[in-house]
């Protein structure tokens, strides 16, 4: 028997309201409720609908963190409502809580959003196994435990959209696939049975692909299934190099340029990296470079500092490098 007693505290909720059929602009409704230490965010949504306003709309289904339907934003944080306890949210944000849909600009009715962009991007990464299947195999198509581990839990994604609508790159760049689509792409790219030749090329394209990830770790922070989408994005980067599909562009040269700098100096040669990555397009950085130079923020090539014991670093690069580009 638990020795923890149930506690209650008063919380003020500011709730996003919008009906695309009736409202010109969204507005916020305020509700004050006594919240118990046992409630999850979905309980609050239910209480708003059942006790305050029957027209309040939201998605919910499994109530067990499996279907992904009930994801919303709590004080700006993407949250799976049926999984997240109110106690945690109050610890994070205090007693003033704002409930909003995952994307206010995609709101259809209250917490319900149009997820078409999410599903379109999901579909465009070929999120299924591509393989020539023998319809009458003589034995099972076995996958070793080691090979199965390579999926790295990517198959646990429930398509809730929490990471997608938390991603700042998705918000700014409408072409960017987003973390959930990359997790789906990784799921099948890392499957030894898959033979699709286009998927990895597709997710490495400029603007839409993995190179536009801003590396902010928001996706890892909000994922209710602890899938760590940015880890999968990093693995897709690595796959592109290892499988030889990485294009020679500013993004890939930016990654490879670090190796060249470290080999030469131990440290990163910042100016050299920009030159290596941009090539002739470096001219567009000249105004900023001049402003920095005036302030003593540019080290000229002949003054470039080097790490002590550079020979050790070079020896390790020679013996430990696993990729060629």
């Amino acid at each position: 028997m638990s020795t923890n007693s149930i506690t209650t505290q008063k919380v003020n909720f500011k709730v996003f309201r919008f009906n695309a059929d009736e409202d010109y602009l969204p507005y916020y409704e305020n509700y004050t409720m006594d919240i118990t230490s046992e409630e999850v965010v979905l309980d609050v949504l239910n209480r708003i609908k059942w006790d305050h306003d029957g027209s309040f709309s939201y998605r919910r289904s499994c109530r067990h963190g499996i279907c992904g339907a009930c994801a919303i934003k709590v004080n700006g944080r993407s949250t799976l409502a049926c999984k997240e306890s109110m106690t945690t949210m109050i610890e994070y944000f205090g007693n003033e809580i704002t409930l909003e849909p995952l994307s206010t600009k995609r709101a259809v009715k209250d917490m319900i959003i149009d997820k078409a962009d999410f599903w379109d991007k999901h579909a465009s990464v070929t999120p299924y196994l591509v393989a020539d299947i023998d319809e009458c195999p003589s034995c099972e198509n076995l996958v070793s435990p080691h090979d199965a581990e390579e999926l790295n839990e990517a198959d646990l994604c429930i398509q809730c959209g929490a990471c997608h609508y938390a991603c700042p790159a998705v918000e700014i760049n409408s072409d960017f696939f987003g973390p959930a689509a990359f997790v789906a792409a990784y799921r099948f790219e890392s499957d030894v049975r898959d033979s699709d030749a286009e998927r990895l090329i597709n997710v490495n394209e400029e603007r839409q692909g993995v190179w536009d990830c801003v590396k902010c770790y928001e996706c890892a922070e909000v994922c209710p299934k602890d899938i760590n989408p940015i880890d999968k994005i990093t693995k897709l980067h690595q796959m592109a190099f290892k499988r030889g599909v990485a294009k020679n562009n500013v993004a890939t040269r930016h990654a490879v340029g670090f190796l060249h700098s470290i080999k030469k100096h131990g440290m990163l040669d910042e100016g050299g990296l920009v030159l290596y990555s941009e090539g002739v397009h470096i001219v567009k950085h000249i105004p900023v470079a001049l402003a920095m130079f005036k302030k003593g923020k540019i080290v000229l090539p002949w003054n470039m500092p080097k790490s002590d014991k550079l020979d050790e670093i070079q020896k390790l690069i020679k013996s430990s490098s696993t990729v060629k580009f």
Partner: protein, 293 residues
């Protein structure tokens, strides 16, 4: 109080594009009587980009850096959020995977080193908050920044992923409502400014490959601080500093609004409050003029 002593991992920018960060770190360390042993043998951490190319190599190089801190028997202190992330992530992976640790040590043995896992890796922000103590800093303030509204800009890699972050310092930071930098501003006598973008991304890591995305993120952050009447921004990350300090023109164009605020390194703010001179803190090295001194 026992004198604090750390192995300093400077990262690359402190030696190049943010010399003022190195100057102010050492100035603050002197004021607080903290001894810094600079890891001059250290290599670049890969800045989360080498990792995209060659994961194993980046592990080996970062493990080598930590191994040098271990040779001194000291905690490694970083002064860059991204260095902190990459080094702490390496430590986490090696400490939790004996097979990987053995593979890495096989390489390090070629140069006579071994990664043991004995040195902690913390950012200087948390070294002075947790190990030195906010109260003691407050007592040492001689020039309180009381006339300034100061907007903290935390930088992604000091607060996310929070699981990793919680391993490296004593004060549990809430990634959605971080407080360390706010507390430090208050300890320095300043008024902390709350704004939505304080824990958001500055866009630095896609500056070259996705310049529009990067510029919008930078512009939005400066605008958010400006709208809350900030006189300046302050950050523990030199990469955020570079983006916010030097890229205001493209940021302004991207968001359709002129934005520009002085952006101080966390160390510069503390140094000012402790009575360091502007010259000691390298305030002349900012592209966006620090015009209030």
């Amino acid at each position: 109080m026992k004198k604090l002593k750390y192995a300093l991992f400077t990262g690359c920018t402190a030696k190049q594009s943010t010399p003022e960060q190195m100057m102010s770190t050492m100035a603050v360390a002197r004021k607080l009587n903290i001894e810094m042993i600079e890891l001059t043998e250290a290599s670049c951490c890969g800045a989360s980009h080498l990792q995209d190319y060659d994961d194993f190599l980046s592990l080996v190089l970062n493990a080598r850096n930590i191994a040098y801190a271990e040779k001194h028997g000291l905690t490694m202190v970083t002064i860059c959020n991204t260095c902190q992330l990459n080094t702490a992530m390496t430590k986490h992976r090696l400490d939790n995977n004996a097979e990987l640790k053995a593979k890495v040590n096989e390489k390090l043995a070629e140069i006579g080193l071994e990664y043991k896992g004995t040195s902690n890796v913390i950012h200087f922000l948390y070294a002075i908050i947790d190990d030195f103590g906010l109260d003691k800093i407050k007592e040492m303030v001689v020039k309180p920044l009381s006339q300034f509204n100061i907007a903290p800009f935390y930088g992604c890699h000091n607060i996310r992923p929070s699981e990793l972050h919680d391993e490296s310092h004593k004060q549990k930071e809430n990634p959605y409502n971080p407080t360390s930098l706010d507390d430090l501003i208050i300890a320095c006598g300043g008024k902390n400014v709350d704004y939505e973008e304080k824990n958001k991304c500055c866009g630095f890591h896609v500056e070259l490959q996705a310049p529009h995305t990067a510029a919008v993120l930078t512009g939005t952050a400066i605008a958010g601080a400006t709208d809350q009447n900030a006189d300046m921004m302050v950050t523990p990350c030199p990469l955020c500093h570079l983006k916010l300090d030097t890229q205001t023109k493209s940021a302004s164009e991207a968001i359709g609004r002129e934005v520009s605020l002085p952006v101080l390194h966390m160390q510069q703010m503390v140094g000012l409050a402790l009575g360091c001179t502007p010259a000691e803190l390298g305030l002349k090295h900012h592209v966006t003029e620090v015009n209030f001194i």
